[in-house]
């Protein structure tokens, strides 16, 4: 979600900057004359001696009653959107609670931190895993895990992931009565000296 928003907004701002900067450069170097093409009539600049924004253009709508409210509203919307975007980068979502429903018998609330610790401890018990860190994200009823594993020497990554899936995540789903625990796993390597067979 955040990835998509970030990329859409960055693409939008990038496109605006690129188009504005590029169109100024095209007119400034008088490319239409050198490269023999004609610009459309709505092109904002007439040639290298034109200016970026004439006083007449700048004050064109100043007399209209709608102008200043619209300018202020647009600036406010942009500023608020930027603020929201900024805050979204700083926030790291972490699931505080996982809710387990037992139908008529009621429900149990599990602390997210407890489940994270349990998952990490189970993962570290797997062969080939030196350390592990787990973060829960998602929603209370449908949590998702982000797992980071530090591999020991002689670990087989394929096996580690299969084990993690078959033992750790499946066990967690069973004990927390979850339908499933989608997980994103990153495997890192631990720098160590190689052991050589003489």
């Amino acid at each position: 979600m955040r990835t998509t928003v970030n990329r859409l907004l960055m693409g939008l701002i990038g496109a605006i900057l690129f188009v504005v900067g590029g169109s100024v450069l095209v007119s400034a170097f008088d490319l239409p004359r050198h490269w023999h093409f004609t610009l459309p009539s709505w092109w904002p600049f007439s040639g290298p001696h034109d200016v970026l924004l004439t006083a007449a253009d700048r004050t064109r709508y100043r007399g209209d009653s709608w102008w200043w409210p619209v300018v202020i509203a647009a600036l406010a919307v942009i500023a608020l959107a930027a603020l929201w975007w900024l805050v979204a980068q700083l926030r790291t979502r972490r699931l505080g609670q996982v809710q387990v429903d037992y139908g008529e018998e009621g429900r149990v609330v599990l602390r997210g931190r407890a489940l994270e610790d349990a998952l990490a401890a189970d993962a570290e018990a797997l062969p080939g895993v030196a350390r592990s860190g787990v973060r829960l994200a998602g929603r209370r009823h449908t949590p998702a895990a982000r797992v980071s594993l530090l591999l020991e020497g002689h670990a087989v990554p394929d096996t580690v992931v299969t084990d993690l899936d078959a033992r750790v995540l499946t066990d967690a789903c069973r004990s927390a009565a979850l339908d499933g625990l989608p997980a994103e796993v990153r495997l890192h390597g631990e720098r160590h000296r190689g052991a050589r067979v003489e």
């Binding site: 907004l9 900057l17 200016v51 600036l75 990554p157 796993v185």
Partner: protein
């Protein structure tokens, strides 16, 4: 949905893959030079830093040493070799590969069947660039908003706004400052577009999806360490340097006893196993060079 078990990994690559990752080099600020590297200085004989870069020129120096073991598997001009085997879009690696290269275990590439969809590439959330962009937009729009509102409330405009308005209306387009500003804006815009369109996280290799709802990625450094550890188990191997790129893993081993051909054959099969054990969606193809320790 292609079954990864049905064909060698080279064919599973979508067209244009190389183009995308090529562009993302500058985006991730890392470039291809940062391929996962690990040197195995078990004997301490080899300098670790100088040979790390996955740069074909890097190999040029080695090729001329006249060592038969090295030349066999790594024939000819390195640049030429890159064109024949390293192009990456060559389906199933069936291009004009020098015959001895057939021993490089590309036929071992059969990944074990794992149900589920394709392992997709990891996409960076691009937090830091987004943060900086958001900060700049917020600062600019907030400042302008404040000043516009202040003028509406009957105060005088700030000096910078008067000055900017004057400069905008007087400086011609071919003024140096205008040109510099426009070039900067265009370059920044292009950079943002590249950041927005490329996945980044070139360090992470996507693993094959398993039966569960698990999505795994292996760091190139970790893959290099795994390959190095396995290679060091082969008798006769004194030290190994492994550089794992996104498409190719270069393994350079130094042997201090046994016939080089035997060592190479053992390395071939061991590394083929290890490569399958990485569980990658697109296992990098191996290029293996073995030479006698202490030469070159």
């Amino acid at each position: 949905m292609t079954d990864p078990g049905a064909e060698p990994p080279g064919t599973a690559r979508p067209p244009g893959g190389s183009g995308t990752s090529g562009v993302s080099g500058p985006a991730s600020g890392a470039g291809s030079g940062t391929s996962g590297t690990a040197s195995g200085p078990a004997s301490g004989t080899s300098g670790s830093g100088a040979h790390r870069a996955a740069d074909p020129r890097d190999r040029g120096g080695d090729a001329g040493t006249g060592d038969p073991g090295h030349r066999d598997l790594d024939p000819g001009d390195p640049a030429e070799r890159d064109r024949t085997t390293g192009g990456g879009d060559d389906p199933a690696g069936a291009g004009p590969v020098p015959p001895l290269n057939a021993r490089v275990p590309e036929e071992h590439a059969e990944p074990g069947p794992r149900p589920g969809g394709r392992g997709k590439r990891f996409w960076s959330p691009r937090r830091l660039p987004a943060l900086i962009t958001a900060l700049l937009v917020l600062a600019g729009s907030g400042l302008l908003l404040y000043d516009v509102a202040a003028v509406r409330a009957g105060r005088r405009a700030m000096a910078w706004r008067v000055r900017v308005a004057r400069e905008l209306a007087t400086r011609p387009l071919d003024d140096t400052w205008v040109l510099a500003g426009a070039a900067l804006a265009a370059a920044l815009g292009l950079w943002l577009l590249v950041l927005a369109a490329t996945p980044g996280l070139r360090q992470v290799l996507a693993m094959r999806p398993g039966p569960g709802r698990i999505r795994a990625g292996l760091d190139r450094d970790a893959a290099a360490l795994v390959l190095r550890d396995r290679a060091l188990e082969v008798p006769g191997v004194q030290s190994v340097r492994v550089a794992v790129g996104r498409r190719r893993a270069k393994v350079r081993a130094e042997s201090h006893f046994r016939a080089l051909d035997d060592v190479r054959d053992d390395l071939d099969s061991v590394l083929g196993d290890a490569r399958r054990g990485l569980g990658l969606q697109r296992p990098p193809r191996l290029s293996l060079a073995v030479r006698r320790a202490g030469k070159g």
